[in-house]
Symmetry: C2
Subunit: 445 residues, 2 copies
């Protein structure tokens, strides 16, 4: 075991206030930490990364429309001038619920209240080959990897003389017809239609496929039938091949095998077909639902553990409107965090807690330039105005004026120029010292 675990996390201020430890700075964790700024709680916010990620726009990073920095926000900067909130870049490893202690890779910390907001990761449903060969997109790093992979594939495609051999580098297959899959497929089709032919005049794009595969009978299963049928029509307009009621059987890095259909040649299978909650060690099996989400009451408290809360994608409130858990979307996470922040104040004041109730503000997905589908509680609409709504809502949700401004300019530029400009294959030259030594010796021998 890590020797660091035997010491408390060092250099934390000694505030003599009730300690709220928050694991994860996604929508839920960040919202809660912000709500507790300059309050009578000492907040310790932990995340694996030193930034908050704006998941709804990952697909634009993957398709070269936005820089990672436009949708990633340095956490330390958010908490400038708030001495009651400390951020640590750390990996949470285990909870001791009885001792009220959290173990991390930089030491342990004793909490008065623990909030787990660890989100979800890609679910391959046990398919090892798919996990091995396909590309997930649940972090901004993975989105950047997809961008690099696609550009690499095209640079390779152009060095191959036979059309047949090039196909698998050029075709793109996206598994999962939720918002992520739909948005990725639309953006990829636009790259093929407008950008790649100019970048690679020597390649023929009429045979290049963009395929979207969905196991269920319709796209955007959580949205209205109007949204579903419009999204399908928009994708077809862009030239996306949509295969509904189709399951990916297997994938070997070159050939996507489908149930009852011809296989598809591609070296790019993007997997957006499912998520599963992240886990932390230390809890008995009784705290988990069958799908891995942690069972909480209407205050997001773990059953029987009053000082431990679970938020967002990671939790499940049984017996209510959503037997499998609330939708794993930003709004649920944010609303639960808001409710919990109020309840924490009530808890220390001995007041009665208020239950969480979900207010569905609606959902939306963009399919391409000028095309989106929007379901609001009282109205559903699609097309250009829906796309403007989508732009506006996402721009407002983005953290920080500078990011808002730069994304707005980026979008305007891309819209006017038809040409997202980030087709760069840049990787930080990050080589472990031991490898570098070998490289150097190799070079000089």
């Amino acid at each position: 075991m890590n020797p660091l675990l035997d010491q408390p996390i060092p250099n934390l201020p000694n505030l003599n206030l009730p300690k709220v430890v928050i694991v994860g700075a996604g929508f839920a964790g960040l919202k809660l930490a912000r709500a507790l700024r300059n309050s009578d709680f000492q907040v310790i916010l932990l995340d694996k990364n030193n930034y908050h990620q704006f998941q709804p726009l990952f697909y634009q990073v993957a398709t070269a429309g936005l820089e990672p920095s436009a949708i990633a926000f340095p956490l330390r900067k958010i908490f400038h001038g708030t001495p009651n909130v400390s951020f640590r870049m750390a990996e949470a490893e285990r909870v001791d619920p009885v001792a009220k202690r959290l173990y991390t890779d930089i030491g342990y910390i004793d909490f008065d209240f623990l909030v787990l907001a660890m989100g979800a990761d890609t679910n391959y449903f046990g398919a090892k080959n798919i996990e091995y060969y396909s590309s997930p997109m649940k972090t901004v790093s993975e989105a950047l990897y997809i961008r690099n992979k696609i550009i690499s594939n095209y640079e390779r495609a152009i060095t191959i003389s036979k059309m047949e051999d090039r196909k698998s580098l050029m075709n793109m297959v996206i598994a999962g017809g939720g918002p992520t899959g739909v948005e990725l497929a639309g953006a990829m089709a636009e790259l093929r239609n407008n950008v790649f032919p100019k970048d690679y005049p020597e390649l023929s794009f009429k045979n290049m496929k963009v395929v979207l595969i969905e196991a269920g009978p319709s796209l955007l299963a959580a949205m209205s039938t109007e949204a579903q049928s419009h999204a399908l029509a928009y994708l077809k307009e862009l030239g996306v091949e949509v295969l509904l009621s189709t399951k990916v059987q297997d994938y070997d890095g070159k050939l996507v095998l489908l149930e009852g259909r011809e296989p598809i040649e591609t070296q790019t299978l993007l997997w957006a077909a499912g998520i599963k909650p992240n886990r932390i060690a230390g809890f008995d099996q009784i705290h988990y639902a069958g799908n891995g989400r942690m069972l909480v009451n209407e205050y997001n408290q773990l059953f029987g553990l009053e000082s431990i809360f679970v938020l967002g994608d990671q939790c499940l409130l049984p017996g209510g409107e959503f037997p499998k858990g609330h939708p794993q979307v930003a709004q649920v996470a944010i609303q639960q965090a808001k409710n919990l922040s109020r309840n924490l104040f009530r808890l220390v004041n001995g007041q009665e807690l208020g239950p969480f109730s979900y207010k569905d503000l609606g959902s939306m997905a963009t399919v391409g330039r000028k095309l989106a589908v929007v379901d609001l509680p009282f109205i559903k609409f699609q097309g250009f105005f829906a796309w403007l709504t989508w732009l506006f809502v996402h721009l407002m949700a983005i953290l920080g004026m500078k990011n808002k401004l730069f994304i707005f300019l980026d979008w305007s530029w891309n819209y006017l120029s038809f040409d997202p400009s980030l087709r760069l294959l840049i990787k930080p030259k990050y080589v472990r010292a031991s490898e570098r030594k070998e490289l150097i010796e190799e070079k000089s021998s």
Copy 2:
């Protein structure tokens, strides 16, 4: 040997024009390729990366002021709609000057004219330990690595309880007092003075050192004494410790050993103390000067090989004003490329070639917010107006309206907010398939 070498580079258009093959898309190579757009030459431009890098601003990437994408330009985009120019991302490996054939990792190509514009890389002067442990900054990837390394070090420093142990993570040492070293030192000092104390309120910065080491007796050796003394004064004002006439003796990743001085504890030694020209196989030793640059005549032709030209950092014109070669700066590369483009037209028309003559447009370096030094042929000035001049000149030199606009906004924002916002530790999640398999097996076992 690579089996690919035995085939010609595929998918190149068949234009029946004299073929100019350009190796390297730095200032020289890119300038030449642009000058030959839509001409009666077929141009094949090769580079290891799919983008042109704007070297003068690497230090701003390393210090979180600019995104890599702001100073890297996708090469394919530059050559949209110019069917006589083809770009290939490839590594040039060997020249056969007699057969007029260039071998690369994607195949060979036969040329009528070959232009080597491969630039230079970091020179460690044979010091293996320094090469092993220090960080170079000759590519945008390396600059990004420096940014990630510094942020990692600070995130680690905060998890260490003893002040003594933290020092080596916080101190920064820069070797080399040329423009790169001066600019890095200034920008690092500003991070320490203005940004890090807000990001890491738990750390004490008064003991954190930024040290600039120069082996010669003055900074900015190629500039005027006014520029030198002002740069030194500005750096001291920012709190940089400047050690002149001091050589780095050795470095083990923790301790910088200096001749006749106390060693300095640091895990961050940035090496900007020298460059050496890149090389390609296939030429006899007689073509090289002692410092590794290739000997050319006043037309940038290799001696005895009329169809092969060498430009910029990689070449040396003996017997002139610069016995060790022209200064290795952008202006020389750009002017040589311009002259060569004219000469290529003359060559095919049987006209007499025009010799290269260097017009020194001056040089400048920025030391920090509002401070720079500028030497123009007829006037030298320093301070705020020099800084504005520096901003303007670099903004104009940047390729593309969008990049100009975004960098201008970034600079304005940083200037007004005192807070470069790119303190993100983002790496594309790039793991080789074989490693990923191991990781997955490890996780599930």
